[in-house]
């Protein structure tokens, strides 16, 4: 049984029927055959999008509720100093932001895999897979 670590784009896509990845993202969040986890950064990112980009502060509560359900499943990885040090190394190596690299670092060792809708910086570089890819 593998654990999938989701970045903010997957949670947000599931809540936006206009997004190209909405259906597979929603299916993944409702998939009982995998354990889901995420990184604590996701709380800031989903709330920021709801308020600043969607202009929909009412969306914050359900988005954060999804995070809490993921927390009760595979957990929310904490951005420790060690994790962020590793993220900085990954950001430099792959020419990506430290934000993106933090999710990559959170995957860590073992059989976890990162899932993201970010095709440009994560999926195209083999650092993540799209929702529904496996």
């Amino acid at each position: 049984m593998s654990t999938l670590l989701l970045d903010a784009s997957v949670v947000l896509a599931a809540f936006d029927p206009d997004d190209a990845h909405c259906t597979p993202a929603a299916a993944l969040l409702g998939d009982t055959s995998v354990t889901l986890a995420t990184l604590d950064l996701v709380r800031y990112e989903v709330a920021n999008i709801a308020v600043r980009a969607w202009r929909s502060p009412d969306a914050v509560a359900p988005l954060l509720a999804v995070i809490e359900r993921i927390a009760e499943d595979g957990g929310v990885v904490v951005s420790t100093g060690a994790l962020m040090t590793r993220a900085a190394e990954l950001a430099e190596r792959h020419s990506i932001s430290v934000y993106d690299a933090a999710y990559v670092a959170a995957v860590g060792e073992g059989d976890r895999r990162l899932v993201s809708c970010d095709e440009r910086d994560l999926v195209s570089k083999g650092l993540a897979e799209l929702p529904g890819a496996s």
């Binding site: 049984m1 970045d7 903010a8 784009s9 947000l12 896509a13 599931a14 809540f15 936006d16 029927p17 206009d18 997004d19 190209a20 990845h21 909405c22 929603a26 969040l29 409702g30 998939d31 009982t32 055959s33 995998v34 354990t35 889901l36 990112e45 920021n48 999008i49 600043r52 980009a53 969607w54 929909s56 969306a59 359900p62 509720a65 999804v66 359900r69 993921i70 009760e72 499943d73 932001s97 934000y99 993201s116 809708c117 970010d118 095709e119 440009r120 910086d121």
Partner: protein, 75 residues
């Protein structure tokens, strides 16, 4: 299959062994079944709760991955 050592209270082990006798299986098989059932229950609870939350979803224009990057602090 990996082998592990598990510590547990004596009273709990008595119950596990009783379950193994009832099912005609091994102590290991009972513990595997309990672990699998607990993890499956957790995933089902998560999935059910999130499906209910997603019923409130409304269109926001898409391109969420680009939005995430656009709203992060710049260098």
């Amino acid at each position: 299959m990996a082998k592990v050592m598990v510590s547990m209270p004596e009273e709990l082990l008595v119950e596990v062994d009783a379950e193994a006798r009832r099912l005609g299986t091994s102590r290991s098989a009972v513990l595997r079944g309990f672990a699998d059932a607990a993890l499956h229950r957790r995933r089902v609870d998560r999935a059910d709760a999130i499906r209910a939350l997603l019923r409130e979803a409304a269109g926001h224009g898409g391109k969420v991955a680009e939005l995430v990057k656009a709203t992060r602090p710049g260098p």
